[in-house]
Structure formats: C-alpha cells, structure tokens
C-alpha cells in the first residue's frame, strides 16, 4: 500500500505542479498583453486563444487527481452524516465505484476525441497563423486517468483503513 501511495501521490503532485505553472503563465501572459496593448498599442496575437485552450484546460483538469486524493470535491455531507456507521461505510464504497465508473467513461470518451483530433491535426485560426489545439485535448484523458487511479487508491485505502493522504495505517480509534 505504501509503494502504491507514493506512486499515486507523485503522479497527482506532478500534474498539479503543471497546473500551477499554467496559472502563473496565464497571469503573466494576460498582464503582458494588457500592458503592451495599452502602453505600446501592440497586443500579443492569440493571447485569448492560448489562454483559453492551453492554460485554462491545464488549470481546470490537471489538479483533479490531487483534489481527489484529498477528498475536496464539492459534496453535501449533511444527509450521510446522520446515518449509522456501517451503512455509511457501504454507501461510501458504492459512491466510490460510481465515481470510478463515471470518470472512466470520461477518460474513454475524451481519449477517443483526442485521438481523432490528433489524426486531423486540429488547429484554431488566430491572428497571423494557426494555433495547434490537438495537444491540449490529451490533457483531459490524462488528468481523468490520474483521477481514476486516485479514486481506486482511495477505495483501496477505505477498505484497508489507510489514510489516503499520508499513506499511514489508521489506528482503531480513527477507523
């Protein structure tokens, strides 16, 4: 369990790190565009398209595995917390399975889409040229696959009473 935990957190951290870099680039690129446009009347061509199709896609999807490991998805906890412990545990496992199924379908479909667009060499027309879009299509299946791995790990951790963030075994009192 320890070794698996290390690999999965490494993957999640690495993808998350890429999204942080994309966030900084987005801030810098847009700010430079605004400055250059207002001061020198010379906007950077394609800022909007690059921001939307590269930085934004990275920022929106790459943190998913990291968020999943920490169980930070938007949920409503109030109803389940009223249920007795054993029932809660069963529901939690079923919910994990549903999430795995849904995100796997997402990976499969976005994979199909990325493959088709790569073969076609998808581009967007921007001022003064073409911006290749097909590479960023792959971010979706990659981020989704990492989320599925993180989710499977969470489920395994739930069944073996391991803390999904530290990889430590939980004591009886926390179980």
């Amino acid at each position: 369990m320890k070794a698996i935990h290390r690999i999965i957190s490494k993957i999640a951290d690495a993808l998350f790190a890429v999204s942080l870099v994309a966030g900084v680039l987005m801030m810098a690129h847009v700010t430079i565009d605004v400055l250059s446009r207002t001061l020198f009347n010379a906007p950077l061509p394609g800022t909007g398209e690059i921001t939307a199709s590269y930085y934004m896609i990275a920022v929106a999807f790459l943190p998913l595995a990291w968020v999943t490991l920490r169980d930070e998805h938007v949920t409503a906890d109030i109803f389940v917390s009223a249920l007795p412990g054993p029932m809660r545990a069963v529901i939690a496992v079923l919910v994990d399975l549903l999430v795995i199924l849904y995100v796997s379908a997402f990976v499969w479909q976005t994979w199909v889409s990325a493959l088709a667009r790569t073969r076609r060499g998808e581009v967007w027309e921007i001022l003064g040229g073409f911006l290749p879009i097909w590479p960023t299509r792959w971010i979706l299946p990659i981020a989704g696959a990492a989320m599925v791995l993180a989710m499977i790990f969470r489920l395994a951790a739930r069944l073996t009473r391991t803390d999904p963030i530290t990889g430590q075994r939980l004591g009886k009192e926390n179980a």
């Binding site: 998350f16 999204s19 942080l20 994309a22 966030g23 900084v24 987005m26 801030m27 810098a28 690129h29 847009v30 700010t31 565009d33 605004v34 207002t38 909007g48 921001t51 939307a52 199709s53 930085y55 934004m56 896609i57 920022v59 929106a60 999807f61 790459l62 943190p63 998913l64 990291w66 968020v67 930070e72 998805h73 938007v74 949920t75 409503a76 906890d77 109030i78 109803f79 389940v80 529901i91 939690a92 079923l94 919910v95 549903l98 999430v99 849904y102 995100v103 379908a105 997402f106 479909q109 976005t110 199909v112 889409s113 960023t136 299509r137 979706l140």
Partner: protein, 437 residues
Amino acid sequence: MDPLTFGLITLGCMLGLIALRVPIGVALGVVSVLGLAYVRNFPIALSILRESPFAFAASWDLTAIPMFLLMGAIANHSGISSALFRAARLWFSALPGGLAVAANMASVGFAAACGSSLASSAAMGRLAIPEMLRAGYDRALATGVVASAGTLAALIPPSIMLVLYGVFAEVSISRLLIAGIVPGFLTAAAYVALIVIRCKLNPALAPKLSDEELQTLKADRLSALREVWPVTALILGIIGGLYGGIVTPTEAGATGAALALLIAILQRRISMTSFIDSLKESMSGTAQIFFVGMGAVMYTRLLSLTGVSTLLADMVGGYAGDPLMVILAISVVFLILGMFLDPLGIMLITLPVFLPMMKALGLDLIWFGIIVVKYVEIGMITPPLGMNVFVVKSVTPSVPIWTIYRGVLWFLLAEVVVMALLIGFPQITLFLPNLMR
C-alpha cells in the same frame, strides 16, 4: 413519458445521489448521460461526455475564475485582512457596536479583493472575533456579524459566482460584476444599521471603549490608511477598468493578481511559500468548480434536448404580466436548497431549470443573477448547513454553533428587507450597469 415527469425524475435522481454524498459534479454528469441514453441512445449520450468538457473549459470568459481566485488568495496570504481590520477599527470604533461595524466594513474591503465568502469569514473570524470578545461583546453578535458579512464577498466584484452565472446565462460578465456593487453596499449598510440600532437599544451587547482608548485610536487613523491605500487603489482600478470597458473580467483578474503580488512583494508581506500556497488554493479551487460546471453543462443539454426547458418556459409564460409569484416560488426553492447544499451546487443545479423560465418571463437576466447570488449566499448562513457559520465555528471553537446561528438570525432579518428592496425595485441593481457603454 411526458417531459415534465422526465424532468422531475432526473432532478429527483440527482438530489438522491447528492444526498448519498456523490460529488455534485458526478451526480449531474451521471444523470445527464443516463438520461440522454434513455431518451435517445448511448452513442449520443457519450458524444456529450466527449465534447462538452473541453468546449466548456476552453472559454475566455471562464478564465476570469482562476485569476479572480488567485488575486483573492494573494491578497489573503499577504495579510490584507489584518490591515483592513486595523484601519476599520480605528475609524468605526466610536459608533455603538463599533467593533462589529468595523468587522463588517473590513469584510466589505476584503470582498473587493477576494471573491470567496469562506476565505472572508475565516480571515475576519481569526482577527475580529477575539478582539470583540476581549472587549466584552455579546458572543452571538460577534460571531454572527463575521459569518454574515462574509457573504458580501460573492456580491462585490470580483465574484466567482457572478462569472459562472454570466457564462450560463450568456450575459455580459462585466455588467454583472458592476451590477453587484450597489446590492453589495446596500447589504453592508443594512448590516451596519442593524448593529448600530441593536447596540443603541441594548448597550450591554457591546460595551463602549474607554475615552482615552478612543483618543489614541483617533491619533492613528491616518497612519492606518497608509497601509491600505495600495490595495484600495488596486480595487478602484479594477472596478474602473471593468466599468469603462477598458479591460475584460479575465484581464482585470490577471492584472489584479499581478498587481496584488507586486504590492505584497513591495510591502514585504509575501514569501515564496505563501505565493505557492495561493497558487495551490486557486488552481485546485478552479478544478473543483470546473468539475461541477462540466456536469451542469451536460444537464443543461439534457433538459434542452428533451424539451423540458421549453416546457418550463411555457409553464411560466402565463405569468409574464405578473412575474412576482414565480420569483417568490423560486425564492422558496433557493432558501430550501440553501439549507442543505453549498452555493456552487445550488447555482449550477438550478440555472438549467430557472434560466429558460426567466427568459420566457422577459425578466432582466442581470438582475436575476444578483438575486440568485444573494439567495445562494443567504444559504451559506442558514441552518443546518451554513458553510460560513461552520468556518466561524472552526476559528472560534469556544462559541457553541447555535449561539452563532442566533447571532446570524438578526442579520437574516436585515436580509429580508434587502431582498424585498432588490426584488421590488430592480433599478437598484440595474441603474449602474445601465450607465455603462
């Protein structure tokens, strides 16, 4: 099956899944895919899952979300909240309930730098509540004001909720953000009036500071402004830029984040670690929002493809002359959902249902956006699930949760007045954006 039954069944399934603690994004997505597979076929359902996530996220308008989050996180990590509260305390302490008024006004300032209610309540809670309790303030008042004033963050620009609403309602986000200003200040003013009146009638709620302390506070007033003016200038610059149409919301967010970072570096208030923490918060927050948003886009597609949207529009069409009944019914729905769901979930689940109705009634979608965000934020302070109250509880463990709710109850009274004004007089919301062009 007729579209109405079908629509209700999908809604019921979704709420059922959410109650079982299925992430809201997954609940929306699963119901949409299965619903489409049922009325059409699986290939069509899967094609929606294939195309809508990228198309939704690769949007220039939505790039304002990570940038607003980043700007707020940088402002928060650079300790802007303590500077604001220090200044507000010096200026407002002489009023009845002065520290509570100061906490409220500091929240207004914080709201103008940061779009997150939870961050606002957490930051103000850590600073202002201990100060008020030390001064002998009533515990319900001290905690209630912080939880309630936190909700201003979603109304006063920058606001994450308004950007999301704007994308789903297909209205100008700049105008929406500008429209949030007056209702935001109206709410803050109602809170101030409430605090002052309550403390005037019952001075035991908030003991007055001693005269010599008030004297020393006066002396420091101007020096306190030195600390907050750069951020104030930044905020006014952003709002001015949006109002004048010089920058788009994304550009306002990105340059705002860059300038907030520059100010924090010049004032030596931020370290590399806290900058990276700001980035982590804002980028993981973005992914959380988009995971739900992607599901909401699919649900919108389901409702429009199956004719539910048209049906909903037809149903309310007869009320076009007198939309008040519909608005009141919608208000009840928001208040009930607000008791159990968080703002993002409520907004993204209800918009696919309510927006076609609003269009059929011919109501102004910018005005409706402000009403939605107000209700969603009121949901953050209503029991049993009041996220802001939970945050205040977590930073002041010594105060029981029902004491905080008791304090919030008074502010909910003020909200009744504010909502009646906003619904009864749409021009309060609309006159500022209507001046733009």
